[in-house]
Subunit: 254 residues, 2 copies
């Protein structure tokens, strides 16, 4: 079996450990963690190390640590010419240095502690510094995901920015919806079927075709009523800008 | 069976016709449509009228027309003291006039032509001018939906504004994600599992707890990189404002 070592014990590391533990192609050789106790229960204690000098030689080292720590961790590794990858959407592959063969192993998903995800559905964005290393990365990724993509650093940068819009910013709009409900004595639950349907529509429709609402219809009367209703300045400004953005996207299609 | 007449032939009217056609409690007596040909196939031709004077007496008339046309249609109805409702989230109940008993029958969902929805899951927001009329509205709504709410006009106004945020504006963020992908030669499909998971998380987590990303982490380095990446001024402005909005929501919780 292919031997993989995970460096890190955060959300991404834990979800990778969980995914690889079901694989019949890849075996987790070791896990590096500063805090042994918080690790995934499938890893026996003798496979957990907290000293880089105890890392054994394996086929791939996956550095799943926070963005800021990637460069430092890569620098501290006490070996050369091995294959190491990081898992970040926003850090350049080159942050891994020149001592080892480098690559990126970026799962495009939002990971929440204690919420299981089906790794098979997660797009894996792969990149390798040397194309000779790509096939092994691909084989390892395919052992846990059905959606593996060869993505260069420029494309990955775009994906990460786009992901902020469709994930982080969308969640903030849910939060604003929640606040408006709370302030007006309406249960947020009433919006949940609409949230589900809005996400579901986009699976089969182009976002421009899926667009509905007062901005799309240029229904200025309703837009004015809504702006009049909103008291929070930030919400009012966002309403104006997103309305303008819809009208612009819509105009583009015509 | 309870007799209901639908006035209108747009998306909402068509979805209501489809939902009532499966009900064992409610029967569609007639449908008023200016354009007979585009109606739902379950309605026999002799039940379709295009003249208000041909409307028979029924238990409820549902006016499912565009917001701007509601007042005019209600005014044209050639009868008095019957129960009439509109289906709009943003029009006051009083737009229906004083000639008839009035109410609101607002399905909180985004309807797309030719895309089926499961009406059972759609929250129905009901209001009646006279509380004696509420039970029949409730019975009719419960015949097609499992989620029926008594919602007054102020609450409905709030729901409609909140719905614009979690539906229309969220869809626009999908569209921006799509544009960023297209411009950088990345398939939009790569974002779809993330979109699904983001919506799914909110079913069980509070939006503040579900928030992730650079804005939440106050990761200014990544925020600056993303702003530098974005060329479209509107996208850049939205990025800044939504980042600020996340940081404000986050601050509230701390």
């Amino acid at each position: 079996m292919i031997q993989v070592t995970i460096i890190g014990s955060g959300n991404v590391a834990q979800h990778l450990i969980s995914a690889f533990s079901k694989s019949t192609v890849v075996e987790i050789a070791q896990v590096y963690s500063r805090h042994k106790t918080i690790l995934h229960p499938v890893i026996p204690i003798d496979k957990i190390v907290n000293d880089f000098s105890l890392l054994r030689k394996v086929d791939l080292y996956i550095i799943a640590v926070t963005d800021d720590a990637i460069e430092q961790v890569a620098h501290q590794l006490p070996f050369e010419n091995e294959l190491i990858v990081h898992t970040s959407g926003s850090v350049a592959m080159e942050a891994l240095g020149t001592k080892n063969r480098i690559g990126v192993f970026y799962p495009l998903q939002t990971f929440t502690k204690d919420k299981a995800v089906n790794f098979k559905d997660i797009p894996m964005c792969l990149e390798s510094g040397d194309e000779k290393d790509y096939p092994i990365l691909e084989k390892i990724a395919q052992s846990i995901s059905d959606h593996v993509f060869n993505i260069n650093s420029e494309q990955r940068k775009a994906i990460h920015v786009a992901a902020v819009f469709v994930n982080n910013f969308v969640n903030n709009l849910y939060q604003i919806g929640n606040e408006i409900c709370l302030e007006n004595n309406v249960p947020f639950d009433i919006l949940k079927p609409l949230i589900t349907e809005t996400a579901s529509k986009i699976m089969t429709l182009d976002p421009v075709a899926a667009q509905t609402g007062p901005a799309k219809r240029n229904d200025q009367k309703t837009i004015d009523k809504h702006l009049d209703f909103l008291q929070n300045k930030l919400h009012k400004d966002l309403y104006k800008q997103l309305t303008q953005s819809i009208q612009q996207s819509n105009g583009k299609k015509l």
